[in-house]
């Protein structure tokens, strides 16, 4: 594009002239406008076309930058930012942004600062060049320029910049211009986040922030105060004296009637109300006096807020959270939970969602109140919305207790049937845990497990197979019933590996019961030995069976050799697998072959029925679980039956833990039926347990009415709380649930909780929910401990904690003595 100029008297004064004037001088074309570029790009029909256009434009922009053209720089940077949004590289514009910031024109500064915020960050050294410009602009005589500088500093200021400029920000925090004051407040928040030591500096300026009339300033001031309180407990106590003032502001907002400038759907500045409620929550959290001062206003807000629109509900929601978090009186708490209950019935899905989320948070502390809404919660399981379903599921598991177990499990099993695959694993785990804790009868327990295995068998966690097997073994009177049902299930479906593994193990153990047709619980089926062997052999050759499953089946077949009469057939099968390509199967087959030949005299003893396994303690799946629960003792390891305490090295370690001789060793078995074929790395009580399990629903924290929870451990940011429950079935058993939380800034990983009790007690540790405690109280680990106390002695416990924090391992030993008397009397 040629451009026409008039050269006058040799002076280079450029003017734009009309078409009819004479002399022509060719020059770089004017960079096109942003609008032009956008229009052009929109005409591109393919990605390649678009890329071509953009590259062409970038080249033109680059040369324009090289020419140091001040006039069009802002236009070019604007185009660059647009292309950046579409995903194209724009880093060559960074320096240009700085030049724009240094310009005198407001337009330039505006786009320059925007560019800096979008293209730069503290990782590029270039950003430090901004410091001086920002400093000047913070003192500019135009408030909008000052505003730009504050905005940029508050978005991407690095720690160095913040240190240099904190003084300017502090000055601006004290002036009367509300436009700048509110920006300065948020900028101060950013400075404090980057350089926490500077927090003190802003303290004087906060003195009269709350007496502001301007809502914008009030709002950001409350944000600033909240940030300061979050970061420093000293600040928190210091600002407690502001509670009366905050209460007054809130009152004015509610009572002031219609105020057109702050009105949102008939409510006066809901955003400010929510902010203040949040700050009040923080201030009242562990302080009785502050909580006392807030009670009235909270009740007022809770009862007076109009709930027909979303804004009202946002305020109510915040109010409920505040009530639950501070030390409010019980009447107020009940009011809050009832509000949540009302939310659950609201048509608006968003409201139901937040209600479920809040109930989840409060179910541990106000369990009984939440129980009242159980049916509504269970109904939410049928909701279309995935997020709501998930929360309803978690909440349902938290509400399961001995009284409602049958009804709840029915609903949950139905849910398991129809839910999306993403839920199935967690749901199955939750059902298992709940069934284990509250099963009203053995038969019900086994039926429930069968149901889970048949509906969601491929989604159950790895460690459930050995757990189930152990459970089945211990229910002696149910053996025949169990094996029959499992056999029938196998006939229907052999694709779900956990089901197949449990079934084949049971057939191996109780095949004689199956064939003899003795079943008391239900109609016995007639099945011959050959039919059973047909099924098992079918499993061996099926493509659906994993190698681990095949291992189970082979051993099951072997066991049947002492229980049924068709031994020759078994011998044949076993010898065939002696040359199988899978090493594990081959080894087994060879060893079993040897059993038939040279060691036939030992065979019946070795393949005897498994004894009842004392599940005295499990500590979650170890590495062995990753082979999917190898249950079978290989022939030569059979001597290490799990009813005997494990390797002596471990007993020594236990005594180490306990220190004195008056404590009974805790017998740890990983999954109790497994001495691992790989001998050595067994249940290292004190070693590195790699807990492979995913998070099980953590919410089994039933508090029986009356037993107060206690804080068992509080050191270095790690807080462990115990909550108690007495078992309905056996009054000598106390069920303790530990909740471990972490208030430091780094998460704690590889967390292992170990406990030992005096000789007269017995202890059982179930699997923890996970072994990582997220930082800043964002989540907890829970683990269930069952303590058997037949002599009703005072409960004492020695606890050993190990975890990794900030890369270094931490270990601590402590003794817990102050158990509430209701937990052991």
């Amino acid at each position: 594009m040629a451009q026409l100029h008039v050269v006058e008297d040799g002076n280079e004064r450029e003017k734009y002239s009309s078409f009819f004037l004479v002399s022509l001088r060719l020059r770089m074309p004017t960079p096109i406008r942003l609008r032009e570029l956008i229009r052009t790009i929109r005409t591109a029909r393919t990605q390649a076309e678009e890329r071509e256009m953009i590259q062409k434009e970038c080249a033109s922009i680059r040369s324009s930058f090289r020419e140091e053209d001040n006039t069009y720089r802002c236009r070019n940077v604007a185009k660059l930012l647009y292309m950046h949004m579409l995903g194209y590289p724009a880093h060559f514009g960074q320096l240009e942004c700085l030049k724009l910031i240094a310009s005198q024109k407001f337009t330039d500064k505006r786009i320059g600062y925007l560019g800096a915020m979008l293209l730069l960050d503290e990782r590029q050294d270039v950003h430090l060049l901004m410091t001086n410009c920002i400093k000047n602009d913070l003192n500019h005589n135009t408030q909008y320029v000052q505003g730009l500088a504050l905005c940029t500093l508050g978005c991407m200021g690095s720690s160095e910049m913040c240190r240099d400029l904190a003084g300017e920000v502090e000055k601006l925090l004290k002036i009367s211009n509300s436009y700048l004051r509110k920006k300065a407040a948020l900028c101060a928040v950013h400075v404090i986040r980057k350089v926490p030591e500077l927090m003190e500096m802003f303290l004087p300026a906060t003195k009269n922030l709350l007496s502001e009339k301007n809502h914008g300033v009030l709002h950001t001031s409350v944000v600033l105060l909240t940030e300061m309180c979050e970061r420093s407990p000293d600040m928190l106590s210091h600002f407690r004296k502001l509670v009366p003032q905050l209460v007054r502001i809130l009152k004015n907002l509610i009572m002031s009637g219609y105020s057109p400038e702050h009105d949102v759907s008939g409510i006066s500045d809901p955003f400010l109300q929510v902010r203040i409620l949040k700050l009040l929550r923080m201030l009242g959290r562990s302080d009785d006096d502050s909580s006392e001062a807030m009670n009235d206003i909270l009740a007022q807000v809770a009862t007076n807020t109009e709930t027909s629109k979303n804004v009202g509900n946002a305020i109510l929601y915040e109010t409920v959270l505040t009530i639950m978090d501070i030390k409010s009186e019980s009447g107020l708490r009940v009011l809050a939970i009832n509000i949540l209950g009302r939310f659950l019935l609201n048509n608006d899905k968003n409201i139901r969602y937040v209600a479920l989320t809040s109930l989840l948070k409060t179910v541990q502390t106000d369990h009984n109140a939440v129980q009242r809404h159980r049916s509504t919660i269970v109904d939410c399981l049928k909701d279309v919305d995935v997020s709501i379903k998930r929360r309803a599921m978690e909440l349902s598991f938290a509400l399961v207790n001995g009284n409602n177990i049958r009804g709840m499990m029915k609903e949950l099993l139905y849910f398991l049937d129809s839910c999306d695959p993403e839920f199935k694993a967690d749901c199955a785990s939750g059902i298992f845990l709940g069934a284990e804790k509250y099963a009203p009868s053995k038969r019900w327990h086994i039926d429930t497990i069968m149901r889970v295995l048949t509906t969601a068998g491929s989604y159950v966690r790895d460690d459930s197979v050995p757990n189930l097997i152990q459970l089945i073994t211990n229910s002696m009177e149910m053996h025949a019933y169990t094996v029959q049902r499992l056999y029938k299930a196998l006939l229907d479906d052999i694709s779900q590996q956990p089901l197949v593994q449990v079934a084949s193990w049971c057939i191996g153990e109780y095949g004689d019961l199956l064939v003899s047709g003795r079943c008391e619980e239900e109609e016995p089926i007639q099945v011959t030995e050959d039919e059973v062997l047909d099924v098992l052999e079918g499993l061996l050759v099926s493509n659906l069976s994993s190698p681990v499953t095949q291992g189970y089946v082979l051993t099951a077949i072997m066991k049947l050799s002492t229980r049924v009469s068709t031994v020759n057939r078994i011998k044949k099968v076993v010898s065939v697998y002696g040359s199988n390509i899978d090493v594990e199967l081959q080894q087994r087959a060879v060893e079993y072959n040897a059993l038939f030949k040279k060691y036939d005299h030992m065979r019946s003893a070795l393949l005897e029925r498994m004894p009842i396994m004392e599940k005295t303690a499990t500590n979650g799946p170890t590495e062995t679980a990753q082979t999917n629960g190898e249950v079978e003792p290989s022939a030569l390891d059979l001597k290490n039956l799990p009813s005997v305490p494990q390797a002596p090295g471990q007993a020594n370690n236990l005594l180490d833990l306990l220190g004195g001789s008056d404590a009974a060793p805790v017998i740890q078995t990983a999954a109790p039926t497994k001495p691992v074929s790989a001998g050595g790395e067994l249940l290292d009580l004190l070693g590195d347990l790699s807990l492979s399990g995913g998070p099980a629903p953590t919410l089994f924290n039933d508090i029986a009415a009356g037993i107060p929870p206690m804080t068992a451990y509080n050191k270095n940011g790690l807080i462990i709380e115990f909550t108690f429950e007495r078992s309905n079935l056996n009054p000598n058993i106390a069920v303790i649930t530990i909740h471990a939380s972490n208030s430091t800034e780094a998460e704690m990983t590889e967390f292992v909780f170990q406990a030992a009790v005096p000789k007269t007690f017995q202890l059982q540790l179930l699997s923890p929910s996970s072994n990582i405690i997220p930082a800043l109280n964002q989540g907890t680990i829970t683990q269930v401990i069952k303590v058997l106390n037949p002599q009703k002695q005072q409960l004492r416990m020695r606890v050993k904690l190990t975890y990794t924090h900030n890369g270094s391992p931490v270990q601590d030993l402590t003794e817990v003595n102050s158990f509430p008397p209701q937990s052991w009397q």
């Binding site: 802002c74 709002h219 139901r352 969602y353 997020s387």
Partner: protein
């Protein structure tokens, strides 16, 4: 704290992206794609809250979104923000856009993305909510726009040129050129 604000259309084309935490460029684009994927498959009658995708921080963060005609407005926030409050904030932002652009539509956002950024800057600063009063926001944006306009605006037509052309003494252009049988009507040229 608000971690990111994303506006994209029903096909996933970004209309405005603003991250309040550092992400590399290609990561930003991936996050946009992932977020679009998560949000677009939601029915219209489910709730407006989602767990954040794995790229943006997973379950520690929530995506709160609203669907207006052809545009999705997505705010990615952490647990310190009230979900219902952010929903209201999105509403305030959109109504502000409506006031500033007079019945805002997607084309306005496409062609004036810089202006949308400036408006957003008055609502959210550094990932925190700055101002929620619509009239305040509109007033402040107006004043700043006026300052820009007086300088010639982004198109950077120099102010001197404007007055220069006005002052120029253009020769008189005949409105009609009649040469014999040919009749040419000269179009009137505007100064720009």
């Amino acid at each position: 704290m608000i971690k990111a604000i994303l506006i994209f259309n029903n096909h996933g084309k970004p209309r405005l992206i603003r991250f309040y935490q550092y992400f590399a460029e290609d990561m930003q684009q991936q996050i946009i794609r992932e977020t679009f994927h998560l949000v677009s498959k939601r029915d219209d009658n489910v709730c407006n809250f989602l767990e954040g995708g794995s790229l943006i921080g997973g379950s520690d963060y929530k995506l709160i979104y609203r669907h207006y005609a052809t545009l999705y407005f997505v705010f990615c926030v952490d647990s310190s923000e009230s979900e219902l409050g952010i929903l209201d904030l999105i509403q305030v932002f959109v109504e502000t856009l409506d006031k500033c652009f007079e019945n805002v539509c997607e084309l306005d956002l496409i062609f004036h993305v810089d202006k949308v950024h400036y408006i957003l800057q008055e609502v959210v600063m550094g990932g925190m909510v700055l101002e929620t009063n619509m009239n305040e926001i509109v007033a402040q944006v107006e004043l700043q726009n006026r300052m820009e306009k007086s300088e010639g605006g982004l198109s950077a037509a120099p102010a001197r040129a404007v007055s220069a052309v006005k002052n120029m003494n253009l020769p008189e252009i005949p409105r009609n050129i009649n040469i014999g049988d040919i009749n040419i009507k000269v179009p009137s040229l505007s100064p720009f």
